[in-house]
Symmetry: C2
Subunit: 418 residues, 2 copies
């Protein structure tokens, strides 16, 4: 089955707002074996709306409209689609009662205009909206399905899950979309693609999408399958081939974030960590503590921007700072070892560098970053030169710092306290 | 003039990728007085492509296509649009030379397939692409303009600025889009809207869009104007009325981020700051150091997750922790004062709270956050109860912490060292 998605709202045609509902809908439709063949954004304009629905119904079996179901004069979707399909609007007393009940609960008077939301095209099935006043609508017409959903994601998503998904699944034709997601740290996109393009190009029936962000490459594999077991096996085989080609730069086969992988490794090893950051400004601590339960393994971090703070908090000897400069392998090592010592953590991370745009010298250009990881009896240190602006340098640095921790556990086996 | 934008590429119809070029294009077109009346995403399919361009040309004077200009068999835009407009494709020897030159520079052999990119519809003007091999195309046909741009943002954006903007400006009809952007911290969207809706609804000819994110509301004002000076004045008048209605919760009238405003206030006052964070996990430090030149005012921060680190780094007396608990106004005060003392900063920020999902008690539910700001001779402390999940609680907490610093300078006048 093919679907088209129409996002409705003049604000979606400004530079400030973007339709993101369609990404959620696409993922959900794909799971049901339904492909999205076109997406459109139109303003709150009856003629534009009518044309968009008319065109879409000429091409796709399923047309999903989002937005324009509210109570104001700008909201034209219900009326326009009813008119296009030649259906009268009839007031649904059950919807009126549900709306009145909702307003009573919030102790507010229901404005007369809200009654518009209780108007339902003849033959349409209203879809309840417990999180708002605008009900959705399900209509069938000449072999086509039209679904109208409210625009706010907090209303659209549960309505799809509770009322639309099951109805569509009943019409699904035993086709599934199966997916896998690998993620890679610390390798440029061109290198990843050079290594794996011959593998995924040879895999018939699997779509491969490669997404690059600073310090991370995501590899999405998708297969439309009639025979689910066979397709699962084929996808797993392809994912494993790609993993072998990329080696230990792959940090997940299940689409987790790097901080989630590191958090799981720390928890499994019953290890703790502390961080001394300079150029990343707290981003490594922020990422590590974004995971629920992080207080079990994260003891603390310092953002030692001023040299005195590197000495006071991370115990970096003033002589090391003076001899080698704040951006040096020696200082990164001293930060990692010092923060480990002062917190009593299993592992200490030290990061110092030049995020730019200022602060560079001929020997230490913007993007120079030293990262050190201190453990019992050993400290590893690496120097990087990251391309890009301040934000991108900082992101790559925090990514490589977390990846250093991930690799530490992969190489040591899981329980480092043995 | 009205424009439609067609984004081309099957990967844009997956859940993983989204057209973001159209936001850039919309902003640029709007500046030229051109309104975007529809946006579409279509896959790499000749029939779909042809229909999308045919429909768009039936409605809009300007149609911009993005993507599908590459050298592979998937790239169909050039051929399909030429065929639709009834134009022959002719090889442009200058483009061939430019491509060969580019491959020579990167010391690579040019694949035969790249010659497809040198095929130009008769009568079309190629748009140079110094950042890639695919040239853009500018075509005029029966009162319509068709512009084809490459999909990668790093190629599309400079090509628009260097080759398209001027050509479109020559056709502009003396209509401009003027904009203002106010931002508000620490007030819920419903409260902002209740205060300003009567004001912006009464302002004819100005579109108002309100965008809410955790801890921040953006108010975008837009006016299409033939008489620029009059419209500037009307917009300024409306922005000022809105500012008055919202009072000192407005932190910018120029669309800056809160960290930019705080950075500017610190720099102007020649003041320094240090931060002791618990539940925000380094996010306040990360935001303060995201601004270039932050080493001038940011001395350092600690993420004192474990209680011992609150004592060691932020000088919080163990007795205060024991008596009041880590999440308390007293500890927030002690953190703010301690970090100020230990770094010698003009200002010290202390933040402690429960981001969730774990760690709550009946007296201290998830979302409880204490924020304190210590200055010479005075410390202010506030307790908040933020709704939402871990990420949203943390974002709101860092937002309110920065806003506390912003208000400190607003209320004190600029030079606090006097």
């Amino acid at each position: 089955m093919k679907a088209e998605i129409i996002a409705i709202g003049s604000e979606l045609l400004t530079p400030f707002r973007q339709d993101t509902n369609s990404l959620f809908l696409t993922a959900e439709l794909n799971k049901l074996g339904i492909e999205v063949s076109r997406k459109c954004v139109v303003g709150d304009d009856a003629a534009q709306l009518r044309e968009a629905f008319r065109e879409a119904l000429g091409r796709a079996e399923l047309v999903i409209g989002m937005g324009g179901l509210g109570p104001t004069e700008d909201d034209l979707t219900r009326e326009t689609v009813a008119e296009l399909l030649g259906r009268r609007l009839v007031r649904d007393e059950e919807i009126v009662r549900a709306m009145q009940e909702r307003f009573r609960r919030f102790r507010r008077e229901m404005p007369e205009t809200n009654l518009r939301q209780a108007m339902v095209p003849e033959g349409a099935t209203p879809l309840p909206n417990p999180r708002g006043t605008a009900p959705g609508l399900w209509m069938e017409t000449g072999g086509h399905i039209v679904v109208l959903l409210p625009g706010p994601p907090a209303e659209l998503k549960p309505m799809f899950t509770e009322s639309v998904e099951k109805r569509l699944a009943e019409r699904s034709r035993g086709v599934w979309l199966l997916t896998r997601e690998l993620r890679v740290a610390g390798v440029p996109e061109s290198e990843v693609d050079a290594k794996i393009a011959p593998i995924y190009r040879a895999a018939a029936g699997v779509e491969t999408t490669i997404l690059a962000s600073p310090g991370e490459i995501q590899i999405h594999l998708r297969a439309w399958a009639g025979n689910r077991a066979a397709a699962e096996k084929a996808l797993d085989g392809l994912a494993e081939k790609i993993r072998q080609a990329l080696g230990d730069t792959v940090f997940t086969m299940r689409g987790e974030s790097l901080e989630e992988v590191v958090a799981a490794a720390l928890a499994e090893a019953r290890a703790t960590i502390a961080v001394a950051e300079s150029c990343t400004g707290g981003q490594v601590a922020e990422r590590l503590t974004s995971i629920p339960g992080s207080s079990n393994y994260f003891l603390g971090g310092v953002v030692s921007y001023a040299n005195e703070m590197k000495t006071a908090w991370a115990d970096v000897p003033a002589a090391v700072l003076k001899t080698h400069g704040a951006v040096s392998g020696e200082v990164a090592r001293a930060m990692a070892e010092g923060i480990r010592r002062s917190t009593g953590a299993t592992l200490g991370l030290g990061i110092t560098g030049i995020a730019g745009p200022g602060g560079a010298t001929p020997e230490k250009p913007v993007g120079t970053v030293h990262i050190a990881l201190a453990a019992e009896g050993e400290t590893k240190e690496r120097r990087f030169l990251f391309p890009g602006d301040r934000e991108i340098v900082r992101r790559q640095a925090s990514q490589r710092a977390l990846d250093l921790v991930r690799r530490y556990f992969e190489n040591r086996g899981k329980d480092i306290r043995k």
